[in-house]
Symmetry: C2
DNA sequence: TATATTTGCATCGTGCACGATATAAACGCA
DNA sequence: TGCGTTTATATCGTGCACGATGCAAATATA
């Protein structure tokens, strides 16, 4: 009986899982200096692009459930990075707005993308490979989110 | 000032992080039936390939620290999937061995890789794309683990 | 051989992820 | 208007991840 398929090296999921963890770890020194974690950095990137979003809007952009985002935002509020306020129009919604500290972190974050690219490019990875990987992954994400929606509808 | 680099869509790390979570979620229905989690499935794949490894050997194969693996293995011992025994030659080491239940789970797991491939292939992803992605990710993992080692040595 | 260092594993604390559940506001409709 | 349903968020429980720390066995070194 052929068991090669059940070997770690044959699965595409394991490299995906490991690469994700390792690259998050590569961000860590930079984020440590800013006093935030990687998921918190993701929230900031969303808010830097458009401030004043609801919890739900942020969770949709990050493909994370609100039960992950909710406590995360509370921690960021405690860090004085943002504030949470109930919406006046819809009392159910909570509007997230950057505070001064959250806005200032943007300047500190500016060099991060370049420095991370450097880590990869310095070691025989072509920029085209980075872009290709990104494109492929986005395609997969599209498929896998569709796949998820179908399951929920059933 | 150009902020495009700080946009979520420009970062390669976010698709990696999302795709990893989404594909793990795609495994979930199959693993639920087996009564295990995705990291536990990874441990099993390692042990199915070679039984009787130490905690350290497993952690190296999975690129996870022992402080993640240790409690994970304890939970699997409680599930009667494996047993943990101190090595006779080196009292510091703990040998992990599959129990009957752990061995039987292999049969149940056999169809999983194919079924996951189907989810991807059914939606316009070529097998060649899967293989290409795997290859690229493995290259990245190699670079990022090297990068990590260098940091530790410093 | 005594002591310092390394190694293998475990424990602790914190922060995600996420399924399940709760709760209150908003909405739909008879 | 009244009431069932949907929607937005929060809470709870469990299982990772992982840095920091602890501890005992093995090894290296003076």
């Amino acid at each position: 009986m052929d068991d090669t398929q059940l070997q770690l090296s044959s699965q595409v999921c394991f490299p995906l899982y490991s690469a994700s963890r390792l690259i998050t770890k590569a961000y860590k020194p930079f984020l440590d200096e800013m006093g935030i974690t990687y998921p918190q950095y993701l929230v900031l990137m969303v808010l830097w692009e458009k401030d004043g979003l609801t919890v739900n809007q942020i969770s949709e952009k990050l493909l994370l459930n609100t039960n992950t985002i909710s406590p995360l935002l509370k921690r960021m509020e405690k860090l004085d990075i943002l504030q949470r306020n109930r919406s006046a129009e819809d009392e159910r919604s909570v509007i997230i707005q950057l505070k001064e500290k959250g806005k200032q972190l943007k300047d500190q974050a500016k060099p991060i993308p370049d420095q991370l690219l450097k880590i990869l490019l310095n070691d025989n990875i072509e920029l085209s490979e980075v872009l290709q990987l990104k494109e492929m992954l986005n395609h997969w994400i599209q498929i896998l989110t569709e796949n998820n929606k179908n399951k929920i509808e059933k």
